[in-house]
Point group: C2
Chain length 217, copies 2
């Protein structure tokens, strides 16, 4: 929680490890992954080349890739790092709200901020990477598909909480509602980048608001 990229690097969560050598390695891993997520959000996980990353960070290719083993492992670590950032930027703030409609709204608002504030320079990291690997098999695809499934499940679960709290009608299909809401978010993210405008976020907010209002008890 203190550092989003700690366990994304694959360390065994050993904060009290006083070995300065592995601490140096962890520091480098976090440095690399911090740049990697930004690069990948713009140029994709394939555009994330080792040589480019090494040049930008003023280090050697071999020294960089030694931390990950292969490019595919670097891509998987980058996804884990992006998940950690997403969790702190979107999920955790929402979970600080009490369960109910307020938490649903907090989750969606946090996502819109995460996208429009360009927490990643290329907009939502997952929108970029997921489309890149949607039609390609392999471990990277699977990791992204799992992340997407978890994200939609989180929305649906938050909706179900609001139903349990009596703030969303019981006859609403939580999965369907989650699908609709996520669709608005993704569409706004894409078209804001595409047009260089932020007005589309207002359209997303209007869509979210209407859909939630008509679902409220």
């Amino acid at each position: 929680m203190t550092d989003q990229l700690a366990d994304a690097a694959g360390t065994t969560a050993d904060p009290a490890d006083t070995d300065g050598r592995v601490r140096r390695g962890d520091r480098t891993r976090r440095l690399v992954l911090g740049r990697a997520v930004d690069v990948a959000s713009v140029d994709g996980l394939e555009g994330l080349s080792i040589g480019r990353l090494a040049t930008e960070l003023s280090m050697s290719k071999s020294g960089l890739i030694a931390h990950f083993g292969s490019k595919e492992q670097l891509q998987l670590a980058t996804i884990r790092a992006a998940r950690a950032i997403f969790a702190t930027a979107v999920v955790e703030p929402a979970l600080r709200e009490p369960p109910g409609l307020g938490r649903v709204r907090a989750l969606l608002d946090a996502w819109l901020d995460y996208s429009s504030d360009r927490r990643f320079p290329g907009g939502c990291f997952f929108a970029r990477a997921t489309h890149e690997f949607a039609a390609r098999p392999g471990p990277v695809h699977d990791a992204l598909a799992a992340a997407d499934t978890e994200w939609l499940a989180l929305i649906a679960r938050t909706i179900a909480e609001a139903q349990a709290a009596g703030e969303i009608r019981a006859d609403v299909d939580a999965d369907q509602l989650a699908f609709d809401l996520a669709a608005y978010l993704d569409s706004a993210n894409l078209r804001s980048l595409l047009l260089g405008s932020f007005a589309v976020y207002d359209q997303a907010r209007a869509a979210l608001d209407r859909r939630l209002t008509e679902s409220a008890s």
Copy 2:
């Protein structure tokens, strides 16, 4: 109209040209672009490499790229080719319906078929390419942004026709409704590819139907 890829290749629409040399060139251009859109729908417009394309088509790199001049020009031609395919698969069938709510539904249904039938092996070509270049400047970005803007404008115009026909309420914001509907389509396309399932198209249909029903007069 007879051949979707004819003018996408950049020819000046000279069908009666009896010169067998340029006819051969046009045939090759269409062959190349037909493969290019399929490859790009899976691996993106950057993954579209000249060498790979040449190998798959059993021709030389130099002979292939001579038709386009540069990779960026090939990418732009590929976008034009994809637009032509999209027009015949989605737009033209819908425009054969009389203006009104029926045409709106026909347009959306045609899009869902275009996506779920995998008219491109990687799902919607534009979903893939647009996310790839959303955060990158240049002519390719601009061409994709223009295509997206035209697509949303077409939906909005079709909605406005239905309003003029008295089948959609006059107080409905056509641009907002178009945004919502397009969001459902894109979301279904992505998540169907990601999960390898087609059930998500039913969610999209449910979302489209609800949104249109509540907007109907």
